[in-house]
């Protein structure tokens, strides 16, 4: 058995020494609040967590006695399972609170539900909600740590962190890499969180989408938010040229009904990531997808299952990253938070 702290799937340049930065976050709301040092800290901790996932006894007692609630107001299989596995691997009690079916149906308000969970002695609430901003309301309302597992069109920080971590493990660095994010940017919390994270890590982000699926005021958004190296290239062939990472986003089929797309066929013709387009990227390009995939809509099957695809590794890394976040935030006392 070999236990290694560095990624086994690449010649990773280890980050300098052990995690040096002081962790001060009580919540994980979005990556805009995290510094580069914080993100590196998460990577280092995730490496340790990956070791645990790779061994026979996939359990440590670190969070024994802690209670973690998955409060999901939106159906989710993957993210929810990932958080549950992460929490259980660290020895925590996990309570699933499927708000899609339970108290919402009874008309309990969000705020009341949060206070109930706090009264139950919950340490961490992992919240997913179809409306933007709910994790921020939760962080104001209760003393529990809040992890944003996706809020509306706003943010999905743990997904972005696992994307970044997956790239870092494969390529060994992030600085200077060119990433192309394709498709429904407008409604994508994954894209928004990644724009923050990638920007902070010194990556160059190119967005490629039809204008109806872009942000209205994208230039002002980028400049006001203080993001660097984000640009828009509508033509996907041009966008992909020289890319190190390509990330097609899931296209919700409702977008066509909403009139944002004339037809799926036209979208597919203009924006599907297929083998030909991928060949325009760098030779060692990697393909990520936040899942679930709509095969042969935003991504061709050959690409999704091809050698460049790291989609399955994203899933494993997601558990490690979520373990790292659970570990880190439960170490921070409320008063120390930033």
């Amino acid at each position: 058995m070999t236990i290694s702290a560095v990624g086994s799937d690449a010649s990773v340049q280890p980050l300098s020494g052990v995690s040096s930065g002081v962790w001060q976050h009580h919540h994980v709301l979005d990556l805009d609040e995290f510094s580069r040092g914080d993100i590196e800290n998460i990577f280092k901790t995730s490496n340790i967590m990956r070791q645990i996932l790779d061994r026979d006894v996939k359990r440590v007692p670190t969070l024994r006695g802690k209670t973690i609630v998955n409060l999901f107001y939106e159906p989710s299989t993957r993210t929810r399972a990932s958080f549950e596995l992460a929490a259980k691997t660290l020895g925590a009690e996990v309570l699933g609170f499927d708000a899609v079916r339970t108290s919402v149906a009874k008309g309990e308000s969000l705020v009341n539900t949060l206070h109930t969970l706090e009264a139950l002695g919950t340490d961490v609430i992992v919240v997913r909600h179809p409306q933007s901003g709910v994790p921020y309301i939760a962080a104001q309302e209760v003393n529990c740590s809040i992890i944003n597992a996706g809020d509306g069109c706003h943010a999905h920080p743990t997904q972005a962190l696992l994307d970044l971590y997956t790239i870092w493990r494969r390529i060994g660095k992030l600085e200077g890499l060119k990433v192309v994010i394709i498709g429904d940017i407008k409604h994508s919390r994954v894209a928004r969180s990644n724009m923050w994270g990638m920007s902070k890590m010194g990556m160059k982000v190119t967005l490629s989408a039809p204008s109806t699926l872009l942000l209205r005021d994208i230039d002002q958004f980028i400049s006001q938010s203080g993001m660097s190296h984000v640009d828009v290239v509508s033509n996907l062939d041009n966008a992909v040229e020289g890319a190190d990472v390509v990330m097609p986003l899931r296209l919700q089929l409702e977008r066509q009904e909403e009139g944002l797309l004339p037809s799926l066929r036209e979208f597919t013709l203009r924006y599907q990531l297929d083998g030909r387009r991928l060949s325009l990227a760098n030779r060692n390009v990697i393909v990520l997808h936040p899942g679930p995939i709509h095969e042969d809509i935003e991504i061709a099957s050959e690409v999704a299952h091809g050698s460049q695809s790291l989609i399955e590794q994203q899933v494993t890394n997601g558990v490690a990253v979520r373990m790292a976040l659970l570990y880190l935030i439960t170490r921070t006392k409320r008063g120390d938070q930033t």
């Binding site: 969000l110 705020v111 909600h129 962080a139 209205r216 005021d217």
Partner: protein, 442 residues
């Protein structure tokens, strides 16, 4: 009887700005000026260093009664109005039931006569049930005493219906007040469409949604010659459209709210003080949404140039439960009576507006919009004594638990304002006075 002495008497519409006394007798202004005579037995307020102006007239508020008494009542709402210096308020008809018949107008008038501390002027619906389909019995409503017609909360979506309403309203010479919102563009929108909406992942409400209806209604007003009043103008484009129409003789008036003059879209993130945690602050969720500094500049310019006639609060009280929830589910609206004057005075102290413009937009000009320029918003001798006394320099902090209004929903909580209403006199009676104001009885 009441005498106010030593103050600066200020009524910009009527060209009065002089030190002196004001004598009130039997609820009316008996005499104004220096060295006027009054009985020595009359109770007296010493207004040294203070300004005495006509009581404010609000063209646009929601008193919520009947139907939404948990949010506000005629009693609590008019008490809040008095704290804010308003002596006359026009209440919007989006109650439950809506004010679309004579009986409801009469009910409100009766409630007001029993419970209101300031003058309440009801506004009637444009369409039956506010449904936007058939116009109300406007003659009956006019006879019952409504001062305008409005489906506020919604536009009249159908252009033909609006055209008929305008034509018909001409018989009564009352304005139609339009809430300008193209629902097909705003549906699901939460805040102004712009970088903040992008940043927060919220659906935006484009300026165009307002301007489309403004443009349509201006065209219809031109066509019909009816009096049109545009509610809560919030965009530069709307100001420009109204300016153009006024120059071409279209009979249009317009109002702007204090919050649209003082706050921008960034307020909802609550990060204006540089940094801090991102917020989704439902207290800043309002329709029309808070816009940009460029829009504010245009609105201020519009006020100065007379494109915009009035400042109206759009006082929209809500319960805590309606605000303390997911931002997309939270109610639109700001409880505005008690912060209106203080927030506007910030513009004065910043040199963005002069006192004459500010007071005229709160007094005689809104009175003229509803055809009441003679008896409301004036210090003319013989008019009802509706008067406000304020201190331009008094500093105070907004503390919403102390609001008189049931609606504690304000984006100004904790703000320090410079400029405060110290006494409000309605029909000769002091209905609000600051702790610092003493009435001396000889």
């Amino acid at each position: 009887m009441l005498v106010i002495t030593n103050g600066r008497i200020f009524d910009p519409c009527h060209g009065i700005d002089q030190p002196g006394e004001l004598f009130i007798k039997e609820g009316k202004i008996e005499s104004v000026g220096t060295g006027i005579s009054f009985p020595s037995s009359a109770p007296m307020i010493d207004a040294k260093g203070l300004i005495i102006s006509p009581g404010f007239v609000d063209l646009h508020c929601h008193l919520r009664e009947p139907g939404f008494e948990e949010e506000e009542t005629i009693a609590s709402g008019t008490q809040a109005a008095a704290v804010g210096g308003f002596t006359t308020v026009c209440c919007m008809p989006n109650t439950d039931p809506p004010v679309d018949s004579k009986s409801i107008v009469n009910w409100i008038k009766k409630r007001a006569s029993e419970n209101a501390v300031v003058n309440v002027l009801p506004i009637g619906c444009i369409t039956k049930g506010r449904k936007g389909k058939e116009i109300c019995d406007m003659a009956e409503l006019a006879e019952a005493g409504v001062v305008a017609f409005s489906d506020d909360g919604d536009s009249v979506p159908d252009s033909q219906v609006m055209c008929h309403a305008m034509d018909y309203s001409r018989d009564f010479d009352l304005p139609l007040i339009e809430h300008c919102e193209d629902k097909s563009l705003t549906n699901g929108g939460v805040i102004n469409e712009g970088w903040v909406a992008d940043r927060l992942g919220l659906k935006g409400i484009p300026a165009a949604a307002e301007e489309i209806i403004v443009a349509r209604d201006l065209a219809l007003a031109r066509l019909t010659g009816a009096k049109l009043h545009i509610a809560h103008v919030s965009t530069r484009g709307a100001v420009e459209l109204i300016q153009h129409a006024k120059r071409n003789g279209v009979p249009v008036t317009a109002e702007v709210t204090p919050h649209h003059l003082t706050l921008t879209q960034e307020r909802i993130m609550n990060m204006s003080n540089g940094g801090g945690q991102l917020k989704y602050d439902s207290d800043a969720k309002v329709y029309p949404p808070l816009r940009t500094q460029d829009d504010i500049d245009a609105l201020l310019e519009g006020l100065k140039e007379g494109v915009i006639d009035a400042i109206a609060t759009d006082h929209a009280p809500h319960t805590q439960a309606q605000k303390k929830c997911e931002l997309e589910l939270a109610a639109f609206g700001i409880s505005g009576f008690e912060t209106a004057f203080g927030s506007l005075m910030g513009l004065l102290h910043a040199g963005k507006i002069d006192l004459g413009t500010l007071i005229s937009k709160l007094t005689c000009e809104p009175a003229r919009v509803i055809g009441r320029g003679n008896d409301l918003g004036t210090l003319r001798v013989g008019a009802m004594a509706n008067i406000v006394i304020f201190d331009v320099d008094r500093e105070w902090q907004v503390d919403r638990p102390r609001f008189v209004s049931k609606g504690k929903n304000t984006p100004f909580d904790g703000c320090w304002f410079k400029g405060k209403v110290l006494a409000t006199i309605v029909n000769g009676e002091i209905l609000y006075q600051d702790d610092s104001v003493r009435v001396n009885h000889e």
